[in-house]
Symmetry: C2
């Protein structure tokens, strides 16, 4: 009984890790679509989001099936429930990559990102990749230290988000309102991507230690 | 056994309805803080979000406890899991109200909303209230027709969101970049408030009919 349960749970955990790889690739490619004004890549990111959504549904269905068949209690039960919550957060990270790709598509063949913001957006994408990778690793290892690291990486994302706003609100901004609106949304998408990684991290901390992190997902910005 | 289970489930359902009332009030008051540049109200919305977060945690804890004690299967199991997902979406609606209040606080004593956008933001707030009320009612009644109605109301929200963008991208926009950035975020918060109401509605449809809605939460914008 217990072995079958843990085998099933491991498979769910593997799928969560796979989801983090998918959203990692999605955000990386969305950024490339955005900065290189690459319509085909934008379209493929948008289309591929269905696969992430489907995997999330599979995780949910298998988690419910596992609850029904094995009727776990205590920590085992908490792990299954947590897996469903994590799947929800990671799926949402995929949506945010799709949003970035949609902005790229909407402005094509123009670039949605004016020159002064390009480097910061590129940095946000690098941080997003580190967050997705760290999230996958923390899930695979059920590692509290790794989970805490995610919050620190997300602080870098928040700084970059503020830097974008600093540029936009600088009196020398000369790229007009449309570019400012686009940049506001794009920057928000990367920042939210990080918030969901932190939400997953807090779930891991809660699972392992029984305590909520300093910033649980209900307290995020 | 079954009666104890359904009593507990009813209590969770009541709490979800209570959460919709709380986020309804939060968004109404956040809008008032925003449009009337009322700092005290903004602060109180921000502080009160903790209560919504706490109620969400209570719902989660009681749902897990219910799973452990009663080990429901089939539809009963699905209902408990769905309740947890709904709690997550409604809690997020509260976060979005808090975000609106934070913009109001950040710009105080100035208004974050320039004159040409005031009416549309006020309309978005009315639609948000209708969405929160319809969501509470659909949860209480487990009503698919009510749930489908939520999607229609949300279409109005999406139209208003586009209207805001239309104003911002109008060549006669003369309120500067900061106001455009603020309005972009504010409008996005109301729109996302609606998306989460739709996500709850789709959960209800799935619970009652076993089918996903046309737009499940993974396919939203």
């Amino acid at each position: 009984m217990r072995d079958a349960f843990h085998d099933d749970l491991d498979r769910i955990s593997d799928d969560l890790v796979e989801m983090t790889s998918m959203v990692d690739a999605a955000m990386k490619r969305a950024t490339s679509a955005l900065l290189d004004t690459d319509l085909a890549t934008a379209e493929s990111v948008i289309a591929a989001d269905d696969d992430i959504d489907q995997l999330r549904r599979d995780v949910d269905d298998r988690a419910v099936d596992l609850l029904a068949r094995q009727q776990p209690v205590a920590t085992d039960l908490r792990m299954v429930v947590t897996a469903m919550h994590m799947a929800s957060d990671i799926e949402r990270m995929g949506d945010l990559a799709r949003h970035v790709a949609k902005v790229a598509r909407m402005r094509y063949p123009e670039s949605a990102v004016p020159q002064p913001l390009r480097d910061t957006i590129a940095e946000m994408a690098v941080v997003a990749e580190r967050l997705a990778a760290a999230t996958g690793k923390a899930i695979a290892d059920k590692d509290v230290r790794g989970a805490n690291e995610i919050e620190k990486i997300d602080d870098e994302m928040d700084q970059l988000h503020r830097k974008i706003f600093g540029e936009l609100l600088n009196q020398h901004w000369e790229h007009g309102t449309e570019a400012a609106v686009d940049a506001t949304l794009i920057s928000r998408y990367y920042e939210r991507f990080g918030d969901h990684a932190v939400a997953v991290a807090n779930r891991i901390v809660y699972l392992v230690t029984g305590r909520y992190g300093t910033e649980d997902e209900g307290l995020q910005d």
